[in-house]
Symmetry: D2
Subunit: 382 residues, 4 copies
Amino acid sequence: MTTKPLRIGLIGTGFMGRAHSNAYRRVDQFFDSDHRIELRAVCARTEDAVREFAGRWGFDSHETDWRRLVERDDIDAVDICTPNDSHLEIAVAAAANGKMVLCEKPLARTAAEGAQMVAAVEQAGVPNMVWYNYRRTPAVTLARQLIDEERLGRIYHYRAQFLQDWTIAEDLPQGGAGLWRLDAAAAGSGVTGDLLAHCIDTALWLNGSIQEVSAMTETFVKQRHHNLTGKVEPVGIDDACAFLARFQNGSLGTFESTRYARGHKALYTFEINGEHASIAWDLHDLHRLQYFDHRDDSRTRGWRSIHVTDSDMPYMDKWWVPGLQIGYEHTFVHQVADFLQGLDRGETVAPTFRDAQETQQVCEAVLESAKDRSWHAVAQDR
Amino acid sequence: MTTKPLRIGLIGTGFMGRAHSNAYRRVDQFFDSDHRIELRAVCARTEDAVREFAGRWGFDSHETDWRRLVERDDIDAVDICTPNDSHLEIAVAAAANGKMVLCEKPLARTAAEGAQMVAAVEQAGVPNMVWYNYRRTPAVTLARQLIDEERLGRIYHYRAQFLQDWTIAEDLPQGGAGLWRLDAAAAGSGVTGDLLAHCIDTALWLNGSIQEVSAMTETFVKQRHHNLTGKVEPVGIDDACAFLARFQNGSLGTFESTRYARGHKALYTFEINGEHASIAWDLHDLHRLQYFDHRDDSRTRGWRSIHVTDSDMPYMDKWWVPGLQIGYEHTFVHQVADFLQGLDRGETVAPTFRDAQETQQVCEAVLESAKDRSWHAVAQDR
Amino acid sequence: MTTKPLRIGLIGTGFMGRAHSNAYRRVDQFFDSDHRIELRAVCARTEDAVREFAGRWGFDSHETDWRRLVERDDIDAVDICTPNDSHLEIAVAAAANGKMVLCEKPLARTAAEGAQMVAAVEQAGVPNMVWYNYRRTPAVTLARQLIDEERLGRIYHYRAQFLQDWTIAEDLPQGGAGLWRLDAAAAGSGVTGDLLAHCIDTALWLNGSIQEVSAMTETFVKQRHHNLTGKVEPVGIDDACAFLARFQNGSLGTFESTRYARGHKALYTFEINGEHASIAWDLHDLHRLQYFDHRDDSRTRGWRSIHVTDSDMPYMDKWWVPGLQIGYEHTFVHQVADFLQGLDRGETVAPTFRDAQETQQVCEAVLESAKDRSWHAVAQDR
Amino acid sequence: MTTKPLRIGLIGTGFMGRAHSNAYRRVDQFFDSDHRIELRAVCARTEDAVREFAGRWGFDSHETDWRRLVERDDIDAVDICTPNDSHLEIAVAAAANGKMVLCEKPLARTAAEGAQMVAAVEQAGVPNMVWYNYRRTPAVTLARQLIDEERLGRIYHYRAQFLQDWTIAEDLPQGGAGLWRLDAAAAGSGVTGDLLAHCIDTALWLNGSIQEVSAMTETFVKQRHHNLTGKVEPVGIDDACAFLARFQNGSLGTFESTRYARGHKALYTFEINGEHASIAWDLHDLHRLQYFDHRDDSRTRGWRSIHVTDSDMPYMDKWWVPGLQIGYEHTFVHQVADFLQGLDRGETVAPTFRDAQETQQVCEAVLESAKDRSWHAVAQDR
C-alpha cells in the first residue's frame, strides 16, 4: 500500500505540544491509514528549547516564528498548541495559506474570536479539527454508542463536573509559561474555557444542544503576583464556575468546575440518566464505564463497572489484551487516527471548528449569565 | 436511678410512623437517660389498622381522631408523622395543649406555614424538634466534628444531591396513602420539600447559612391519575430541582434532586471542599465517610474511606464492635436519645422548629427562583 | 391470631448476649409468626450486672447459676452465649431437661465435643440451632438463591477470608471477660474456630461439602499476660490460619483468617466463580452483593454492585424502603424469625447442631493439617 | 551529549514482541540516557509477517531464523519474546555470541533450564534482564519505596492472586500461535509459570525469600483440540494453582491463580499487612495504590486510595500532569529506561536472570508440592 504523507507543523511545545507529538509518533504503529504522519517542523520562541524538543520528538526542523512555519511549502497541516490568545491569529494565517488546521481546545478566548476562526477555515475549505480529546476515551465513545443504540430511552438528566485543586495556594503566581491559564488576557477565561469546555463538548456530543443556562462564577484569590508584569495584579479569571442548563431534548443539566476542590487532581465526571438506563464516567479511572440498566432482572440489578479493555470496545482492538488498561495519552492517538482515516475517506472528522464553536457559545452564555445574574439563551447559529 | 416518663402520642402510621416507633422502642436498650419513653397512644384514621399498629409496636392505646390525641392528659409529647398538609394544624393544636412537639420533616408545606408553627411552639414554650434524621448518621456527625475542629480550613465548595428513580413510570398514580408525595396539595412541593430539604438541613448545619439561590425545576410527567379524585390530573409538584447557592461563608453551593435518576434509590450525597481537607458522604453507604487531607505526606495522600464503626466515632460506642455496621433506622434512635438527654439537661436539641424554618426559607427561595427565573435572596429572619 | 409463647432463657451477657437479646426484642415488630418471644430469664455470674442486663433488655428474671436456669419449668428454649468451653455442658443439660437449644457459634471447641452435643439434642428430640448469623445477611441469602437458580453453572473456585487487626498489640492480655478468645482453654482455637468457622459455614451452605484440606497456622505473639493466672503465659491459639481445600463438587477453595491484617476490622469476604457467573460479598459493606454475569451483552458487561435493599430481596420487604440499608444486628433478627416460623411449620431450621458439626469437622481437619503439615480428609459422618 | 547506540535484535513478534517494540520506540522521548535504542533487526518465522512487523515498528531489517540474528555483528542485545520452550536455546546462543540478553518471563519452563540460562549469561559476563514488568508499575514501585522506608513495620501477611477467565470455554483449542500457553510442551506449565510467576517475582522483591510452600493445582478441562497435532489431546498444564507459603521474614503467604475466575480479565492483586501499615494493589486499576496507616488519627483513619499520578511518585515526573493516568504498556518503557540507565552507570538492573531464577525455583517447588501433596522447601542456591 502506498501512503500519502501528512506533513505536520506544530506550534507550541508545552504540555499539549508533547501530548500531540506523542500521538503523531505512535499512531501508525497501531492504526492503519492511507496517510502517514511526517513531523516536518516544530515552532517555539526559544531556539535552544525548540531544538531540543525537535530532537527528542523527531521533527525534521524547527522554527522560532510561527509566521514562517505557516508559510512553509512543506507543511500540510498546522497544529496549534499555543495559549488561547494566539489561536485566532495563527489559525487565520494557516488557513489563508491553505493549511489544514488542528487547534488545541478551547477554540478561542471568546465566541467572537471563534466565529472568525470558523469563517477562516470554511472559506479556505481546509480540513480542521479541535482537540477535545476526551471524546475518544474508549469508555466515552462506548457511552456514545450506547446512546446511539437508544439503550437509555428518554433522557432526564445530564450532570458533569471537572474538579481540580492546583491553584489553592495564594502564592501561586499568574502569567507566563505554565501559568498562562491563570492570566485572563492569555486564557480568555478560567475554568470555563479550560475545564468546562471539555464538559460542554462531551455533553453536546452525547446529549445534543443546550438551550439556556444560569451560571455563577467566583474568583477566590483576588490578586496574584503576575510573572509578566512582575507586580501583584488582580486575577481576571473565574476560579470556579457552576451552571444550570436546559437541553433541547428536554433534559436538565448541571455543570460545575473549579480548581479549589481539595483532593481532586483532574476529576472530570459525567452522568446521564435515561428512562431505561444510566451511564457514568470519570477521568480518574478513565478505562471504566459505569452502566445501570433497569431492564436487568430486579434481584441482580446494579451499577455495572465495565472495564473497557476488550477488543469489541471502541479503539481497544488496536492495543493490548483484555484487562490491560490504556491511559490519558491514547485519547490523542485516537484523534489523530480518526483524522487520518477521515482524510482517507475525504470526510470531515468531528469536532470541527464549527462543532467547537458551539461549545464556545455555551461558554459565552455561561460567562454572561454569571455576570448579569440571569438566564441566557445559547446562540444557535450553527 | 429513678427515671421520668416521656409519654408519647404518635400521629400517623405510615413509613415514618414505623421508623419513629422503632426508635422509641430501642433507645433505652442502648442509650441512658433520666427519661424513659412510654408509648401511650397512636393515631390513624382506620380503626383496624391503627389497632394492629398499636399492638405490633406496643402502644397502650389508639385513637382515630388526632384532635382527641392532642388533648389527652396522659400525653407529654406529640409526634407528627402525617403528610405535610396537616403539620401546621396538628402542631398548633398540640402546642396549645402544652405538649412537646416532634414533627417529621419538612416542617411544613411553605415558609408561611412554618412561621406559624415556630410561633406556636415558642409561644407555648414547649420543647420541639424536627426529624432531620440524617444529621445523626454517625458519619455525618463525624463530618461535623471534623469541621468544628477546623480541619478543613476555608471552605470553597459544598455540593449535594438526592437522587431517586421511583417515579419514572408514567402510570404511577398520585395522591393517597403512599403516594401523597406526588400530590402538591398534600406535599406542598415535590423533591424540594421531600429530598432537598434534607440536603439543605445538613448544609446549613455543616456549612452555615445560604444567602441566595438560582434554581430550576421540572415536572417530567405532566399529568397522572389521581387516587383521590379518580381522574387524570395535572401534576403540581417538581419532579426535579437543581439550584446554585452562595453561602454566607463565601463558599459556592450546588444542589440537585430528582426522582428520575435511573439507578439511584435514595442516593443522598454531599461533598465539602476546604483549603486543607475535603469530606464526602453518601447515603447508600452511610456507614462510611470519605476524607482527604492535603497535609498528608504527598506520596501516600489519597481519599480515605473511613469505616465509621469504631467506639470513638459518634454514637458508635453504644452499638456493636468495630467493623460491624449499623443502618438507616439507627439515625432515628440517635435523635430520640439526643432529645431525651436534652430533656435531662434542660437544653434545646437541634434541629428545632426554628432551625427547620431556615430550611423552609431556603426551599421557598428555591421554588420562587425557579418560578421567576432569577436569583432570590433567602429570608434571614432567624 | 392467638400466638404461642416461646419462653427464652439466655445464658451469657457479653457481646453475643446483647446481639441475641436485641433480636428477640425486635422480631415481632417486623416478622409474623404463631409464636411470640417471651424473655423469661437471663443468666450471668455477677448478680449486679445480670440484674442490670435483665432490666435493660426486659427479661422477667435473672439467674447467676446456669444450672438453675436450664431446670426452670417456665423456659422453653435455652440460648447459650457463653465462651466455647461451656457450650457442651450447658447444651447437654438443657437437652436433658427437654429444652430447645440455641447455641452461639462455634458449636464447640472440638469436633469431639460437637459430636456429644449433636447426640444430646437429637436423642432429646429438641429443636436446635447454631447462630451462624451471616447466612441471614440479605445479600448472602440472595447469593444462595442465585446459586439455587443455577445461574452460576459449574463452580470452579470458592475463596473466603476473615481479616481483623485487633490483636496486633503485644501488650494485649489473654483470658477473662472480653479476651477469652485469646485463651486456648476457653476458646478451643483462635481464628479457626472464631472466624474461619463463619467462612466454612457459609461455604458449606453455598458450595457443598469440603473433602480435604491443607493448612498452616501461626501464632505471631508467642506469649501474653494471662488475666486469669496473672502471669505471662504461652499463647495457645492460632493467630492466623490459611488453608487450601477441595470441595466435593470439584471446585477449589482457599480460606484465610487472621487478627493481624492491619486496616481490616471484620472483613469477612467470599467470592464464588462459576462457569457463567460470579458472586462476591464482604461484611464491611454487607448490604451489597457483587455479581458478574458473562451472559450479559459483551460491551456492557461488568461487575454489578447490587444494593440489596429492595422489597423483592431476601428479608427486605420487612424493613424500610429501597436504598435504605440495614446493618449487622438484623442478621440475628432474621435468624430468630426463621426459627419461629420453623416452629410454626414444625420444621427444622438450619443450621442445626448437626449442620454446625460439619463445620466443626472441617475446623478439626484444618488444625490437624496445620499440625502435621499434610493434607487431611474431612470426616464425613453426617 | 553524545550517546552510544544500543542495537536491539528482537526475536518473536507476538503480543510481547509488540509490547517491547513499543517500549523501545518511546523510551527516549520520555527518559534520558547516554544510550540510545536502535531497532536493528526483528526475527519471526513467517517472512511476510515479520517484514510487515519490521515496517510498522521501525526495525531496520528482519530475519526468519533466530540463529542468524544472534550471530549478527550489528546487534548488541538480543530480546527473547518467543514461547518458553525456546528461551534456553536462544539465550545460551546469544550469550555465547557475547550479546546482552533480555528475556521475556518466565525465564524458562523449569528451574533446570533456568539454571543453565543463568550460567550462560554469567559465564559470558553479559548484561541480562527478565521482563517482570509489573515491578515498574509506578504504584508497585511506590509500594517498594514505602516498604524500604520501613513504614509497615514487621510484616505478617502477603497475599496475591492473578485471576483470568479466558479459557473457560471447552472448545478453546491448545497449541500454536496465541494458544501455546495452553500447551505444556511449549509453556512448561500453565498458570504457575504464566501468572503466578508475576506474583512470585513481586513478592520476592517486596517481601523477601520464600522458604516453603504447599500447593494444589487443577486442570478443569482435561482435553482440548490441539492445533499442532490436529487431534484432541490431554491438557498438560495447570488451569489453576493455589499455594500457601512461609517467607523468611516470618510472614505468611497465600497465592492463587486461575484462568477460570469468571469476571476477571487480568486481575493481578497483592496485599501486604504490616504491624503499622498495609498496602494493596490491583492490575485492573494499576494507577492506584491502596494504603492504610494505623498511625493516622483514629477518627479519620481509613484506606487511602492514592492516585499515583503526581510528579513525586515513581516515574511519573516523566509523563503528564497529576490526575492523568498511564497504562499497562508504560511498565515496559520504564524497564527499558532503567536498563539503559543501568548501562550508563555500569550497573546491573534487576530482575536479572539470577533474580528470575529464584522465581523459577519457587514455581518448581509449587508444582512439585501439588504433585506429591506435601510441603516443599524452596531451593535457596542463589
